[in-house]
Amino acid sequence: MTQTILAPLDGKVFQVMVKPGDTVEEDEEILVIEAMKMETPIFAPCDGAVKEIGVKEGDDVLENDILAVIDSKSNEV
């Protein structure tokens, strides 16, 4: 089962901490979006592996753009 992470707000991708294939844990910071002078961290919604990263640092994103897709670990079990 996969979980898609959407941008919660318009902004610029400030930092990407993971790459496809990386293992992540629930609530781990995987991206940061900069908007309105603030940095909003984006967290992994579940344990799993990064299947896809849809953005790179410096990209402009709109609310609900796909940021990343996580292969949920719980599904493997």
Binding site: L9, V24, E26, D27, E28, K37, P41, F43, A44
Partner: protein
């Protein structure tokens, strides 16, 4: 009112392993910064003569006296790094805080007898006035450990006179006494002139056998007839007089216990003085905590050490305020006021050590495209908008009505700006909040979690709420400035940049000035600067933050000047509906 307070709505979540993994660097950064603060505090503690040297003279240091006097585990220091006049001694030479003595909260202050035998130094009177204001705001006793050699004469022009100068604390002592707030004083060492008034102005004087207090000391008596200049003959005369008074300083216990009776008691040992103060504190008027508690005290639902992971050192990083609050209040329980209105601010009732406390804080997250409702741009936490200001005006007013002390948690970048914000009446609503705070006569404290910026710093219950704010504590993430340094550099130099560009001159010198200004802003907003200048009363390690909330709650409810019966409280009913 058990149904309201015994079990309130729970909030907050335990940290998950992913969050723990992501926040290792933040935790390390905060601890490193806290270590730097500890080093600065240690320099204050080690100022002047060593403990060994003072002990060899048969005296205890002020720190030893405090340790003996204050109930273990209850000392909450304030103003440790306060040094607004940049004294080379790195201290104002008084050590103060709140703590329990014989189970009762008191404001406690002592002269540092290691530094110039407890002399008056620049900035000290401002420090003392903050302390007397604290006793007044919390309506709790003020306990002095007097050991004051008088003015540092080479710098007297910096503190002797003026509206808030070294004589003003004596008026404050009188004011406290006239309000029914006792000032107890243990008297040690030599206390001439200013030290004499420091000794005589409290309510009850507990003297050590070797102490003295006097209108004037040896120095004044020896040199009180100016002759226009000094010569060798005059020097010899001074030596003779000084020897004479050194052998028998004026105002000893022989005079002020045996004759005037100003000293209520005299004790052979230094600890005897402190033991009698403890005995008197047992008899101080104070409600038992059960009189005002709304529930049994409980620890927070989650470890307070989580704060090292939840509060980002990076001032731009968004975080969840409720998760922070859940680590500070009892049992992770609350009653939130108007949760569907003014989402940029949290307002609610919580319990701290079983006492009902009002909590207000800036939320940090993105607020969505439909908020603020008056503008075509989205809102971001940390700012204040129309609804938030209205909500806080209402909440503060109800707190005043219900006599509930308020804890402000500030982390704000300011108010919304622009014509839309002006049309939405933000300026009037902001000053309206100032009005609401001013007319809400309950003790307040501020915990500056991170940013205190622009007028939001004024509005969120800070030191500018002078009569109401008991004290302000900060963290190593705290910073205070009118605006960010880079914003200030742009505001200052943008027109100059245009002129230089149009004149065909190089821009580098202006850019250099802009960077210099931004750097100065940074330096002058850091926690150490804020503590040194008094914008923050103490920089507190994250793990100790709750202990200050507990002290504030206990002190605020120890002997309140007015009370609201629990069954007459309106705020919980307004929240429940």
């Amino acid at each position: 009112m058990r149904s309201y307070f015994e079990k309130m709505t729970t909030f907050g979540h335990a940290l998950k392993k992913g969050r723990i993994k992501s926040t290792e660097a933040n935790l390390a950064g905060i601890k490193k910064a806290e270590d730097e603060i500890t080093e600065a505090v240690d320099r204050v503690k080690l100022a002047g003569f060593s403990e060994e040297k003072i002990n060899a003279r048969g005296q205890m240091t002020v720190w030893q006296r405090l340790e003996y006097l204050v109930d273990p585990g209850t000392w909450r220091p304030l103003h440790t790094l306060f040094n607004p006049m940049n004294n080379v001694e790195e201290t104002t030479n008084v050590i103060d805080g709140i703590g329990k003595i014989s189970g009762k909260w008191a404001v406690i202050i002592g002269f540092d007898n290691k530094v110039m035998a407890g002399a008056w130094l620049p900035g000290q009177s401002e420090n003392i006035l903050r302390v007397t204001d604290l006793a007044k705001r919390l309506n709790i006793p003020l306990v002095w450990l007097v050991n004051c050699s008088g003015a540092k004469l080479t710098e007297q022009e910096k503190f002797y006179a003026n509206r808030r100068g070294a004589g003003t604390p004596f008026f404050r002592h009188a004011e406290l006494e006239q309000m029914g707030i006792p000032v107890l004083a243990g008297i040690y060492g030599t206390n001439p002139a200013g030290g004499g008034y420091q000794s005589i102005s409290p309510t009850i004087l507990f003297a050590h056998k070797d102490c003295n207090m006097a209108v004037g000391g040896i120095g004044i008596v020896s040199g009180m007839a100016p002759k226009g200049a000094f010569d060798i003959e005059a020097a010899e005369e001074i030596i003779e007089k000084a020897k004479q008074f050194k052998a028998k300083p004026p105002g000893s216990v022989n005079v002020h216990y045996d004759e005037t009776g100003f000293f209520r008691y005299v004790f052979e040992d230094e600890t005897g003085v402190l033991d009698r103060i403890k005995e008197y504190m047992k008899d101080m008027p104070a409600y038992a905590p059960k009189f005002f508690r709304v529930a049994d005290p409980k620890e927070p639902a989650f470890p307070v050490d989580d704060l090292y992971r939840l509060i980002p050192l990076n001032p731009k990083r968004v975080y969840d305020f409720e998760e922070v609050l859940a680590r500070l209040v009892d049992a992770g329980e609350h009653m939130e006021f108007r949760p569907d209105y003014g989402p940029e601010v949290y307002a609610g009732l919580c319990k701290v050590d079983g006492f009902l406390m009002a909590c207000v804080g800036n939320r940090q997250e993105y607020l969505g495209k439909n908020y603020p409702e008056y503008a075509d741009y989205p809102g971001m936490g940390g700012k204040l908008y129309r609804q938030g200001l209205i909500k806080l005006n209402e909440f503060v007013t109800l707190c005043g009505r219900d006599r509930v002390p308020i804890i402000w948690f500030q982390d704000s970048s300011g108010l919304d700006v622009g014509d839309a914000a002006e049309r939405a009446e933000l300026l009037g609503l902001a000053q309206g909040l100032v009005y609401s705070i001013q007319q809400t006569d309950v003790p307040m404290m501020l915990l500056l979690l991170r940013k205190g910026t622009a007028s939001a710093h004024y509005l969120m219950g800070g030191p500018t709420a002078n009569r109401h704010n008991a004290f302000t504590i900060g963290t190593v993430a705290s910073e205070i400035y009118v605006m960010h340094g880079e914003t200030a550099a742009v505001a200052t130099y943008s027109r100059r940049l245009v002129k230089e560009k149009e004149a065909g001159r190089p821009l580098e010198p202006i850019v250099e000035k802009m960077n210099q200004l931004a750097e100065e802003y940074h330096e002058k907003s850091r926690p150490l600067f804020c503590a040194k200048t008094g914008m923050i009363d103490e920089i507190v390690p994250m793990r100790d933050l709750r202990t200050y909330l507990v002290a504030f709650a206990g002190a605020a409810y120890q002997n309140p000047k007015s009370i609201c019966p629990q069954h007459h409280l309106m705020l919980p009913r307004v929240i429940r509906g």
